[in-house]
């Protein structure tokens, strides 16, 4: 039902849910800002490195990917990033960015639990499990 009331009909449950969502979104913001900073830094290094040479551009862009231009395992990615490899640093920032929605879902499970909302804690947990399942299917080569 649409009501014109000035916020009087806000159920208390929804309000506390709102507060905890803000807490989750703060975690999310830290993740987003950190990944942004890392990606920007990597792009800056790439620019210093080879001045974003024309040859580099056409080489990357016009051929389909055969092997990734970055290390695809997390360990390698960290090692290469520590050595100052710009592509690895950017890729690391991207991995962090890609992980933010999964982190958000995981944090939401705990927050629903803290609210005593078992129904939605269970629903969110199912989403998290399906998400993890898709990660494993990805590893398995689907």
């Amino acid at each position: 039902m649409i009501s014109l009331a000035q916020g009087k009909e806000n159920p208390p449950a929804a309000k506390s849910l709102g507060e905890m969502e803000v807490a989750v979104s703060r975690i999310l913001r830290i993740g987003v800002l950190t990944s942004t900073a890392i990606i920007a830094f990597g792009l800056f290094l790439l620019f210093l490195h080879d001045g974003l040479a024309v040859a580099h551009v056409s080489q990357i862009l016009h051929s389909p990917p055969s092997t990734p231009t970055y290390p695809a395992t997390l360990g390698e990615l960290l090692r290469e990033s520590a050595r100052g490899n710009p592509a690895a640093i950017i890729a690391f920032g991207l991995v962090l960015l890609i992980a933010t929605p999964a982190l958000r879902v995981a944090a939401t499970v705990f927050l629903f639990l803290r609210e005593g909302d078992r129904l939605y804690a269970a629903i969110t947990l199912i989403v998290l499990v399906v998400l993890m399942l898709s990660f494993f299917l990805g590893e398995a080569g689907f």
Binding site: I2, Q6, S25, F47, T100, A102
Partner: protein
């Protein structure tokens, strides 16, 4: 094209993609894929990888503002996300079994039809009151937000959730199968089936697409589709755009949002039909 020009053009078009994506609950692939492939000559695989990054950047970039403005209905999002993520896995398993070209044509036509339906309700600022739904009560899906454009609190209650569930499984299926974010289908299901206010549909879809995309992003990353040189300016541009989009969302009228959505829907439908017909 020189490297610096490439980065600048990609960044600027990503800002646009981020604004449109955040406003309409889409991932921005509708802007990024044609700009990267047709205009910049980027290989389609890298364009797909970049649009996956764009989806997540839009979603995470807009999240804080939409949660604070109470536009995201977290319960609706989580409930439907069960169907979407399961559908996405089913879709990924069907790759190679179903011919994607037919699907692009079929879903292109579905989008075109939906665009017409959406156009017919273009004057609708907020959905009319609905009959209370048992499912909605059981799952406590009612919500409210303060609409700055209307200057008042809006309370709403979704309906037909039981029908939206299979529809969301379908959107997950096609996003897994076709490698598209399918944010447009999510907004349509929430708008046309569940009758949510357009801003809530948009913001809730915005939350959902991030989770769905994260499910397939890892596969694309391992296959080398997410090229740092392309994805870096895309991620940065989209994050800036998504932030700007959330600022516009607060002020914009639902009706204006509908006009924008119908236009983008028509473009998206034509893109999908083109990919289905010409490969």
């Amino acid at each position: 094209m020189s490297g610096i020009a490439f980065v600048l053009v990609t960044f600027l078009s990503s800002v646009l993609a981020g604004i449109i994506g955040a406003l309409l609950g889409l991932g921005g692939g509708v802007v990024m894929v044609p700009v990267l492939t047709l205009f910049m000559g980027v290989h389609i695989y890298y364009a797909i990888g970049a649009s996956i990054v764009s989806v997540i950047a839009t979603s995470s970039g807009a999240a804080v503002a939409y949660v604070r403005d109470r536009l995201t209905n977290l319960r609706v999002g989580m409930l439907l996300e069960m169907a979407t993520t399961t559908g996405a896995i089913a879709g990924a398993l069907l790759i190679g079994i179903v011919n994607p070209r037919w699907l692009f044509v079929i879903f292109g036509l579905v989008l075109l039809y939906s665009a017409v339906q959406m156009f017919q309700k273009r004057k609708e600022e907020l959905p009319p009151p609905v009959e209370p739904d048992k499912f909605t009560r059981r799952f406590r899906l009612r919500g409210s937000y303060y609409d700055h454009a209307l200057g008042r609190e809006v309370t709403y209650e979704p309906t037909h959730v039981a029908y939206a569930f299979p529809a969301m499984f379908g959107t997950g299926l096609i996003s897994g199968l076709l490698g598209i974010g399918s944010g447009a289908f999510k907004v349509l299901a929430m708008d046309l089936i569940m009758r949510l206010p357009i801003k809530v549909s948009s913001a809730t879809s915005n939350f959902m697409i991030g989770v769905t995309a994260a499910a397939s992003a890892e596969i694309y990353f391992l296959r080398g589709y997410i090229e740092p040189f392309v994805a870096a300016p895309v991620a940065l541009g989209v994050l800036v755009g998504a932030f700007l989009g959330t600022r516009i969302m607060v002020r914009i009228r639902g009706v204006a949002l509908r006009y924008l959505f119908v236009s983008v829907l028509a473009i998206l439908a034509l893109q999908m039909l083109a990919r289905g017909i010409w490969g």
